[in-house]
Subunit: 200 residues, 2 copies
């Protein structure tokens, strides 16, 4: 039986690192943004544009002043993001059929449900997310904690909307996952070691 592990994750929870470590330990394939790259090649859309739609919202609402009418723009972008989602689903299925793998994000748990994936969700409290973001150096150091927290919440709100839009399920609801891992106040290495310890 094939081993497919999907990882949903809150922003700043270390889900990507956990996914990579698991894939490394098991010696299986790992996917996240590569999937988006693949999609962008197939649909011939610019990578940045695809990335923006996939990462941010199922429906991107541009300011009304840009388009001819709000609803027209909405419909147009909606069509694009839905076709990207379909393309993305096909790519994910293709990859999962090709070999055992870990897939981070992209509703992979839902898309691959017929293949019975092991579904992990990684989460964390806000202080730990802030700390992790700062340590990774991907955040403007002038941003204070309050603003950074707002940014993190915003990204998670978008992930949640994206997930719920395409799956009709609640993002982060324990019943949608096999395992929920709390990474608060811990390094990902520690988390893996802890779980190893209890199931050794």
């Amino acid at each position: 039986m094939s081993m497919i592990i999907t990882i949903g994750r809150e922003f700043g929870s270390g889900g990507r690192e956990l996914g990579k470590r698991i894939a490394e330990q098991l010696g299986i394939a790992y996917y996240d943004k590569e999937i988006v790259m693949e999609i962008s090649k197939k649909t011939d859309l610019a990578y940045d544009y695809v990335h923006q739609i996939v990462e941010q919202k199922p429906i991107v609402y541009y300011p009304i002043t840009i388009g001819t009418s709000f609803s027209a723009v909405g419909t147009n972008v909606n069509k694009n993001s839905t076709s990207i989602y379909v393309e993305q689903s096909n790519v994910i299925k293709e990859m999962a059929q090709k070999s055992d793998c870990v897939i981070v994000g992209r509703c992979a748990d839902y898309i691959l449900k017929d293949m019975n994936p092991f579904r992990i969700f990684v989460y964390s409290d806000m202080p730990s997310k802030i700390k992790r973001c700062r340590e990774k150096g991907e955040v403007d150091q002038n941003l204070n904690d309050r603003k950074l927290a707002r940014m993190i919440k915003g990204i998670d709100r978008n992930r949640s909307r994206y997930y719920e839009f395409y799956t009709s399920l609640k993002w982060g609801d324990p019943l949608n996952y096999d395992l929920m891992i709390n990474t608060s106040n811990k390094t990902i290495k520690e988390v893996v070691n802890e779980i190893v310890k209890i199931v050794k």
Copy 2:
């Protein structure tokens, strides 16, 4: 460093079995009802009475016809259940200090928070809980699924109230646990194997 594993669990989720298996695999002590027994010995109350209070509600409301007045009875039982909780906390702390252990239920995650326990919560969807309850043969076979579901929900509501009453935390809230394990459609053996597989 000592290893303390606490397990919160929904009724019918297999949390006790998981706790026992973990304790066995790690070769450490396992506690659940034994603690209540210990308490009952110490406080000199009948086991059944203690068990009823600890298992069901922080405040047991007897029908108004039994006592002199509703509030008087409530206060009285409240006092008893609080003193039992304090006693229970002491016993749990004593045991955790004595040796590495797995403790199921009893707000142990909260009581032992200064000892930095690894906090697990075990949950499951309703059909799996019903199936598990029937398989264990602890349920009246004449009880239909709807009634059994109501009974299960009632027990969990009591556990939730008990936990929230003494910890001021939300029972089952992912942020209160290090690991949340979904046992829906699975045997506990399978669950352990799955986790072993991903962290091997």
